[in-house]
């Protein structure tokens, strides 16, 4: 038997989490380096996965399969397609930056020695989330997926509730209450989604008799597994609801701004750039593959909700006074684009949506982490507390601007490629929807540039006058992310080649063909 590469990729950060947690309390720095080491080793394994994966080969590769709970038909089944590989790579890539950016976020406060901050715990939890996210991208057994989809809520809950942003207005008590609220809201929303999904998972078992994604999908495709229309629809809704909470899709989005606002910036990136991607990924993998007919049935409503997310999220972002909440609402708008691309059911839309997941991860990380550096310097998240920063910290301002430009999908940077693909893929099938979604590009420019103008330009506020520019550690976080944004904007081919065959499979799952151009159709 060959080396279980996928298991190893997911297990390595789990081992790292345990090792980090076990470092003695006094040796905080050692714990950080250990966590960083494990995250980099995981990245190396993810690279091996990407290299070993053959885009023109089988749909699922590097598969592993072991019996787990025989009576219940639950198997430990792993396998990746191009979409999975891309998202595993994204996750493994972002975690080292998240760790590096959060280097001091969990240091004990000197002034209040009573409030001990378990540094080891912070980094161990991040690695634990990484392990669970990676295995979610690998699982081809529905039940196995469900377990980790739910289990990752636990470390996330503690990361949000236990390690809040130190920059807050009002008293410590008040801040702690808000943090609890955010963490509990996050947990409740996702739990409710998860419970409904659990019902659907059990329902699926009742209908299909097993949990294997491949077996069920195959049986569905060749007609040996016939589902009643209503059953399929109900099961679809059960799955979709959970993913829509996680993604998040309007109107289930309100937990995200709270969570991202209260969490430290690196944890906010972990939420929106990594964990939420499991939601959109699962829509592509489970909803479309297991329930193709129901997916098509629900498409009109989902497209409208996605469209609302795009416009509504952007408008809300314009109205925010808190930098991190602004980024959160921008993300809601971007998730609208991803979901739009998935359900437009065209090759361009789905390739674009997958690419969007990757690019949004990188661009949000760049913007949010720089925002975090900014906030930690001034001790405030309010936009109005800043002004003229570019004069005192030009490198910080410059990187912030590039992160912002990526967020507004400037051509030449990676997000443009994916956003345009989603738009054109949507437009090809639903012109009106495509045109309305295009308004998103104007609104994105508005919230980004307003944020930049208010924080970075104008006369220097006295409170920011002595603000230091980016340090070496911070630059080491931001520079590679920006380089990636440029490289993937100019040469996205490696990712699209990885993703294209997987999209082709999904398109045939839902039995959809791309609309032909007029000129060809006329011939």
């Amino acid at each position: 038997m060959s080396f279980p590469l996928l298991t190893a990729t997911a297990a390595l950060p789990a081992v790292g989490a345990i090792a980090t947690a076990a470092v003695p309390a006094a040796r905080r720095t050692a714990a950080k380096w250990l966590a960083l080491f494990f995250s980099l080793a995981t990245l190396a394994l993810a690279v091996v996965v990407a290299v070993r994966f053959d885009p023109d080969g089988d749909r699922y590769q590097l598969t592993e399969s072991r019996a787990w709970i025989k009576d219940f038909g639950v198997r430990y089944e792993l396998g990746v397609d191009g979409i999975g590989v891309a998202l595993i790579a994204l996750t493994a890539l972002l975690i080292p930056f998240i760790i590096l950016a959060g280097w001091h976020d969990a240091d004990p406060l000197e002034t209040k020695s009573s409030r001990w901050r378990p540094t080891q715990g912070f980094f161990a939890l991040i690695l634990a989330v990484e392990a669970m996210v990676i295995i979610s991208f690998e699982a081809t057994d529905v039940f196995l997926f469900y377990i980790f989809f739910e289990a990752m809520l636990i470390p996330m809950y503690f990361l949000i509730g236990g390690f809040g942003d130190r920059a807050h207005s009002g008293s410590d008590e008040n801040a702690s209450a808000q943090r609890s609220y955010a963490a509990v809201k996050f947990l409740l929303y996702n739990l409710v989604g998860g419970l409904i999904m659990l019902a659907a998972v059990i329902g699926l078992y009742v209908v299909a008799g097993n949990f294997s994604l491949q077996e069920i999908a195959e049986a569905r495709a060749n007609g040996s597994l016939d589902m009643a229309t209503n059953t399929e629809r109900l099961l679809f809704l059960g799955f979709f609801f959970a993913f829509a909470v996680k993604a998040p899709l309007w109107p289930l989005h309100t937990w995200l701004p709270n969570a991202m606002g209260e969490a430290t910036a690196p944890v906010a990136v972990l939420i929106t750039a990594v964990v939420d991607k499991v939601g959109t990924f699962a829509m592509l993998r489970f909803c479309l593959q297991l329930f193709p007919e129901a997916s098509k049935w629900a498409t009109p409503v989902i497209l409208v909700l996605a469209l609302v997310s795009i416009v509504y999220g952007a408008l809300l972002a314009v109205g925010q006074r808190d930098i991190k909440r602004l980024v959160a609402y921008a993300s809601i708008s971007h998730f609208g684009f991803i979901i739009l691309g998935i359900f437009a059911m065209t090759s361009q839309g789905q390739s674009g949506a997958t690419l969007y997941m990757v690019n949004h991860g990188i661009s949000t990380a760049a913007l949010m982490l720089v925002a975090g550096f900014l906030i930690s310097r001034r001790g405030s998240r309010l936009i109005a507390d800043y002004g003229g920063v570019q004069k005192v910290a030009p490198v910080l301002a410059g990187t912030f601007l590039i992160g912002g430009l990526a967020t507004l999908s400037l051509p030449g940077l990676a997000p443009f490629v994916s956003e345009f693909l989603v738009l054109v893929g949507t437009f090809a099938r639903y012109p009106a929807v495509g045109i309305i979604a295009t308004f998103g590009i104007v609104l994105a420019a508005l919230y980004t540039l307003v944020l930049y103008q208010r924080t970075m330009t104008g006369p220097v506020k006295p409170e920011v006058a002595s603000m230091p520019d980016l340090k070496v550690r911070e630059l080491a976080v931001v520079a590679p992310l920006i380089a990636l944004l440029i490289v993937l904007g100019v040469y996205p081919k490696p990712v699209t080649e990885l993703v294209n065959p997987a999209v082709k499979h999904t398109m045939s799952d839902v039995q959809k063909k791309d609309p032909k151009p007029d000129v060809e159709a006329a011939k």
Binding site: I69, K70, D71, F72, I147, L153, A177, S180, V184, L187, L188, L191, V192, G194, L195, L198, P251, L252, T254, Y312, L315, L316, V318, S347, Q348, S351, G388, L405, L410, P411, G412, F416, V417, F420, L421, L423, V424, F427, A428, P431, G434, T438, I441, V442, A445, L446, L449, Q453, M456, T457, G458, P459, K493, T496, N500, P515, K516, P517, D518, V519
Partner: protein
Amino acid sequence: MDTENLIALLVAAPLLGAAVLLCGGRRLDRVGHWIGTALAAVSFVIGLVLFTDMLGKGAEDRSLHQHLFSWIPVEGFQADVAFQLDQLSVTFVLLISGVGTLIHLYSIGYMEHDERRRRFFGYLNLFLAAMLLLVLADNYLLLYVGWEGVGLASYLLIGFWQHKPSAATAAKKAFLVNRVGDMGLSIAIMLMFTTFGTFAFEPVLEATGETSEGKLTAIGLMLLLAACGKSAQVPLQSWLGDAMEGPTPVSALIHAATMVTAGVYLIVRSGEIFNGAPDAQLAVTVVGAVTLLFGAIVGCAKDDIKKALAGSTMSQIGYMILAAGLGPIGYVFAIMHLVTHGFFKAGLFLGAGSVMHGMNDEVDMRKYGGLRKYMPVTFVTFGLGYLAIIGFPGLSGFFSKDKIIEAAFAKGGTEGWILGSVALLGAAITAYYMTRVMLLTFFGEKRWQPDAEGNAPHPHESPKSMTIPMILLAFGSVFAGGFFSVGDRFMHWLEPVTHHDHGDSPLSAATVTGATMVVLVIGVTLAWLQYGRRPVPVVAPRGSLLTRAARRDLLQDDFNHVVLVRGGEHLTRSLVYVDHTLVDGVVNGTAASVGGLSGRLRKLQNGYARSYAVSMFGGAAVLIAATLLMRAV
């Protein structure tokens, strides 16, 4: 060596400059401006090499292609990084890199005392790279990259003095208004994709005959929207006046000679689409005609020298757009006017910058007066630019503008008469406002006074690095038009790309020229009566209703402010409220009532909800575990 391999270098040289200057750090401060200027010059030299090479070939073999790599390969969707150099793009390349290099040179002196000069040159290089990409792309999506890249460079340069809130606001406004236009370009590309299955120039423009007029009209209108944004045409013109917040060389390069002409390029490049869509063409001519009057009227009322020139730019580009909307009768003249305008408007702006340089950055023309004695070189070069723009016989503007007016009449029918008359009227107003600028600045009594701190300006001529570019541009302003027109040289040069049609003018060429001369004299005389014969008050008189409206950009900004800005603020504010109370409340409420958590959710601090969450989660876990275990055993 195959010459087509040089095309990418045109873009690469300034791009390299931008990268080096922006990432290079302070150690490049002392040489940065020379690096930037040299790389701009490299682009110009390569452009000249390619141009000479092209001249040596037959008219039909002049188009060159260079395919670099496949950019976005996705099922059914093919976007390449590939270039196309033909007569049209090489004309732009020479204009952009030529005027661009001169303006780099000028900026060395102009920005001498700015501590961020290196960065300024980085942005200028970035601009050149984007603009060259825009005109060299062989497909609309790559053009889009240049298109927005130009927008970015313009944003950075308008807001270069970011510590000034007005500059930061102007930069943001320019980017946003342009984005509205960019939406048009996006939608046009999507339409092309669904109609033709591609958005590369050649296959799209060859297949226009195979689709319906309705589709072509839709694509044409979206392209027009894009052009309105970038070329500051009504209704997306409002950003250009504010863009004058940027350093003056920026106004000369970007907001007069190059970036704002991108819309004209887009329309002329897409000629076949417009030729098949008369309704879209009509819309183009209407936009052009309205803008040429709009800009001219605004130009008459401004006391800020740069804003007066900005109004003029808008108006002159209106002429080009009008010409481009006329179809094959006008394409050649649109581009010809674009090139001559590039010379004289860049020259005028550099002249204005030179005046400001000597006047402690004062921009109010009412505080100038009599400057011809103090800055003779500026006076002469500015004067030649002035004569060129008003269409003084024999100078550049005379040839190019006259042709446009003629072509407008040649459109035929009532439309032809209306468009032709508007173009003539525009010529009269141009003569009026430019004469006003000239008189206020260089003639009459000196009107400047010490400022609040007692610093009186000491007007003086600018250094050589500034005057040499002005002199060279003045040469272009004087001779370019004549050179192009001898034997219809320019027309024959561009014809293989744009095609040409003489149209059927109801008026003879001599009649049109005669009429143009008459309106020119009227315009100049009126201005002289008002500003030359009488002393000019330092404080602007209240003025008529129209003057006051024109000073406020014909109230368009006020409209935008009330409707878009205020309306938008109310919308977002109420949405924030709705999100917080309604959406959040309803979803929480539903969840709460379903989960039986009603009422307690609001008291999260009590820990109730948390214990519920934990018990819910725990319960689920126990349930799953129990089921699994029982089954497994």
